[in-house]
């Protein structure tokens, strides 16, 4: 047995630092007496500082790598791919904390745990995208998931919030059990948990003859667990309820950070661990992407609640991203990276708008609450319109560019029918996104319509997201170059 060099721990310093910062905040938070604005502000400033320092450490220790470096006896890998996701996830976590301004403080809950849990979940995500062994991937996935369950139920005196947390917990635990069962079958067939050697070991096991059932069952169950995490039909049942019931900043966190990290792991496992089975998972992914796009968009049509509509829209968007995953080409892969990066800003902005309209007892969620918003809050309405156009895929927004590249990659790789379904379902989605724009710009407000919350920081965050969404539509070049430089080797 070889000793682990101390250098490996130093290279993992960003994640270790973030975990320690979360624990420190947990302890410090229990001493604070102020559950209102001041304690909250202090905690959020500390959390953002911790995330920024982690980002700096990631740049310093893990950035600029041409050749992947495997550390800690093959548990984690540092490569350009992981670097891209880590920066994106840190940005997503920071946006979540900005969105939490006022909202959580007004709920009257203690702030320390809230921010500590966001830091823990982010730690899990950072480790996840670096994971190079099914064991380390599963543990980091659980760290993310367990923190998310608690965050979803953070408003513990609101029945909806705890109900959402319980549904998330039960289905999440079920899916992680399924994922783990898949891992154990693959281990039985191949004797290895490392992604690097898994694909070759799989081909040996299948060639030997007796391992075929184990391999087939194993990778299917593993894929099911991963598809649950990214909320793909038919593993999406938890999504609408959890998105509606969870505190809105946390909904945004689940929709951007949790989803991006899960997609990063899904792509890494499919491309590196299951490379031998590429045609198999391509077909499975194509089938699920088609069902997901159709069902997600059709279900979103009938929604009256904006958070629920955004939940179904996030399911549909998982379907679009799967198009890029299934191509197994370089173009498809960087399109996935670009799309999820753009989606992070679009969705954070859209949920930020919901936060600004929300009051206690969950007002500001129905379509009617948005009536006449253009007159009452022109800036907010304009931002929301940009996000909705981007989600539909209308230029000049980042959503349009991302979708074009995803569909183009699918057509080039010969998956024309999937791209056609994508275009058609995007057309369907125009209807329900437009419904909200019509409410904001053409309907008049009634007296009962809630006024937007006055929170300058939150408004600035939403504005920033809107600006980035448009910038990504007009000047997608730099991000595309960045994504092209962060690819995994093809299966």
């Amino acid at each position: 047995m070889t000793a682990i060099p101390i250098r490996d721990f130093l290279l993992l310093a960003p994640e270790i630092f973030l975990a320690v910062a979360g624990m420190a905040m947990l302890v410090a938070g229990s001493y604070g007496r102020d559950n209102g604005g001041n304690g909250h502000r202090g905690c959020s400033v500390c959390a953002v500082a911790a995330l920024a320092m982690t980002g700096g450490l990631v740049f310093w220790l893990q950035g600029g790598r041409e050749v992947p470096e495997v550390i800690l006896s093959g548990m984690f890998v540092l490569d350009g791919y992981a670097f891209f996701w880590k920066i994106l996830l840190l940005i997503a976590a920071t946006l979540t904390i900005f969105l939490s301004e006022r909202f959580v403080a007004e709920g009257g809950y203690r702030p320390g745990e809230y921010y500590a849990l966001i830091l823990f979940a982010t730690t899990g995500m950072l480790l996840m995208v670096s994971g190079f062994n099914l064991l380390s991937i599963w543990i980091s996935l659980e760290l993310m998931a367990l923190s998310s369950y608690i965050l979803a139920g953070y408003f513990k005196h609101q029945l909806k919030s705890t109900e959402a947390a319980l549904k998330y917990f039960v289905l999440g635990a079920l899916s992680s059990g399924i994922l783990l069962y898949g891992v154990s079958l693959l281990y039985g067939a191949t004797g290895t948990l490392e992604l690097a050697g898994l694909s070759d070991a799989l081909s040996l096991a299948v060639a030997a003859g007796d391992g075929q059932v184990l391999v087939a069952l194993g990778w299917l169950l593993l894929a099911m667990g991963l598809f649950f995490k990214v909320a793909v039909v038919p593993f999406h049942v938890w999504t609408p309820d959890v998105y509606v019931g969870a505190p809105t900043p946390i909904t945004s966190f689940l929709a951007i950070a949790s989803k991006a990290a899960s997609f990063a792991v899904l792509v890494r496992i499919f491309y590196q661990g299951l490379a031998f089975l590429t045609p198999d998972w391509q077909w499975l992914t194509a089938a699920l992407a088609t069902i997901t796009m159709i069902w997600g968009n059709l279900a979103a049509l009938t929604q009256k609640n904006v958070k629920r509509m955004l939940a179904y829209s996030s399911i549909a968007h998982a379907g679009y991203v799967l198009i890029g995953v299934l191509t197994a080409t370089e173009d498809g892969q960087w399109a996935v990276l670009f799309y999820l990066a753009a989606y992070t800003f679009i969705t954070a902005g859209a949920f930020g708008t919901v936060v600004l309209l929300e009051r206690r007892a969950y007002a500001g969620e129905t379509y009617e609450d948005y009536a006449g918003l253009a007159r009452r809050a022109p800036f907010l309405a304009a931002s929301m319109m940009i996000f909705l156009l981007a989600l539909t895929g209308i230029p000049p927004t980042g959503g349009f560019v991302g979708k074009i590249y995803l569909f183009a990659a699918a057509v080039e790789a010969g998956w024309v029918w999937v791209a056609v379904v994508g275009v058609l379902t995007s057309a369907i989605s125009l209807y329900y996104y437009m419904g909200l724009i019509v409410q904001m710009y053409l309907k008049d407000a009634e007296d009962t319509t809630p006024e937007p919350l006055y929170a300058p920081g939150l408004l600035a965050t939403v504005g920033l997201c809107a600006v980035i969404t448009v910038l990504l539509g007009l000047l997608p070049g730099p991000l595309i170059e960045l994504a092209k430089g962060s690819l995994l080797p093809l299966p």
Binding site: L146, L159, K160, T162, L166, F169, Y187, G188, L193, V244
Partner: protein, 113 residues
């Protein structure tokens, strides 16, 4: 690693598979929160059983102690995570019970499934 496995690996496979299916069905069909939680624990433990059995087989097949250890270490981690999951799950049940005086999941219907 020269001791032969007296019970064939297929038996472990079948037992673990049966436990896993019982757990999954229980988690999906039971109404009481605690029973659902126990079913999920059953699923995780069936995985543990399977991994330990496979670790033995894999170790014999490759003659490499380290590959066998990989599986056993995985089991230890699964146990630790299951304990963490229990803490979170039971805390959630308590929070729900305080609000509603029941943990019957069929009555958790503020939002449609």
């Amino acid at each position: 690693m020269s001791i032969p496995v007296s019970v064939p690996i297929q038996w472990y496979f079948l037992l673990a598979g049966a436990l896993f299916v019982i757990g999954a069905l229980g988690a999906l069909s039971r109404r009481n929160g605690i029973t659902i939680f126990l079913s999920i624990e059953l699923m995780l433990n069936s995985v543990n059983l399977l991994i330990v059995a496979y670790a033995r087989v894999v170790g014999e097949r490759t003659g490499d102690l380290l590959t066998a250890l990989n599986g056993q270490i995985l089991v230890l981690f699964v146990l630790a995570v299951a304990a963490a999951e229990a803490a979170v799950g039971l805390a959630l049940f308590i929070a729900i019970f305080r609000g509603r005086r029941t943990i019957d999941v069929n009555r958790l219907n503020l939002m449609r499934w």
